[in-house]
């Protein structure tokens, strides 16, 4: 889960942080393997490769309106459950921070056991490729 928003936001209302904290205290809380907030892009760097050349660029990065500000790695039985959880999370923002604008991007994570090098290049295992769930 990647949470994206513009960088000119400063403060999370306490009502929202309390509501987020309550999520993890519910009867069947989602399994969060890791989560965190990312430093502002002004304090970040990029190492870019283009046309065979490496370049280091220091932030701020302003070419996109929204940047990843935080993330959570979570476990679900299906993509539908993951999207539903993101929806509940964003619903808290809607309720407690109505002027906030942004999104949670839901992307499945693959580890070494889900990839193969059968063709000499990295690929998802065949049985996962067409699984759109």
């Amino acid at each position: 889960m990647m949470i994206k928003h513009s960088e000119d936001l400063k403060k999370l209302p306490k009502e929202l942080s309390d509501a987020i904290a309550r999520l993890s205290q519910s009867e069947s809380p989602p399994a969060v393997l890791a989560s965190g907030a990312l430093a502002e892009t002004a304090a970040s760097s990029r190492v870019r490769i283009a046309d065979g050349k490496l370049n280091v660029t220091d932030g701020p990065f302003t070419e996109t309106k929204e940047v990843v500000g935080g993330f959570a790695i979570m476990e679900f039985k299906s993509k539908e459950e993951a999207v539903q959880s993101a929806r509940e999370y964003m619903e808290l923002y809607r309720k407690y921070w109505p002027e906030w604008k942004g999104e949670t991007e839901v992307r499945q994570i693959y580890g070494p056991e889900e990839i193969t090098f059968e063709t000499g290049r990295m690929e998802l295992r065949a049985e996962l490729k067409h699984d759109k769930k």
Partner: protein, 139 residues
């Protein structure tokens, strides 16, 4: 205490799959770093194509679910690693080594690694009614 960094690797989605030689070279670098003081790997993974992903967006008080593919940016995050370093400089140096492997083993590939310090929930400062955004520790 070590600082944790989120390394996000971004590239065009039609870049194709990384060659086996690159992944082997990355595994070797990771193994070397795990024995040294800089660059201990906490967790890493590859992300599903955006065609298999979704976004839940809040805008003007409305929630919308959008299914991928997402095509409004040329490059998207394709993988990530959470790593520990003693300074931002050490993190950038490690990203340079990582990208050098791409240059060597995957000629023609274009993309970048974005290096962002990360803060875990217990590191956020709480003060009178608001949660402040974390202040990066000096590097």
């Amino acid at each position: 205490m070590d600082m944790r960094f989120m390394m996000m690797v971004k590239s065009a989605e039609n870049a194709g799959a990384p060659p086996k030689e690159l992944m082997e070279a990355i595994d070797k670098l990771t193994a070397e770093q795990s024995k040294s003081k800089e660059g201990r790997l906490v967790t890493a993974g590859g992300l599903a194509p955006t065609a298999m992903s979704s976004r839940v967006r809040l805008s003007d008080g409305k929630l919308t679910v959008i299914d991928g593919p997402f095509v409004e940016t040329k490059e998207v995050v394709g993988g990530y690693a959470v790593m520990e370093f003693s300074s931002r400089e050490a993190a950038v140096k490690s990203a340079l080594e990582f990208m050098e492997l791409h240059r060597k083993h995957w000629p023609g590939w274009e993309g970048e690694t974005e290096i962002r310090q990360m803060f875990e929930p217990e590191e956020y400062a709480l003060d009178s009614g608001v949660v402040s955004r974390p202040t990066p520790r000096p590097s």
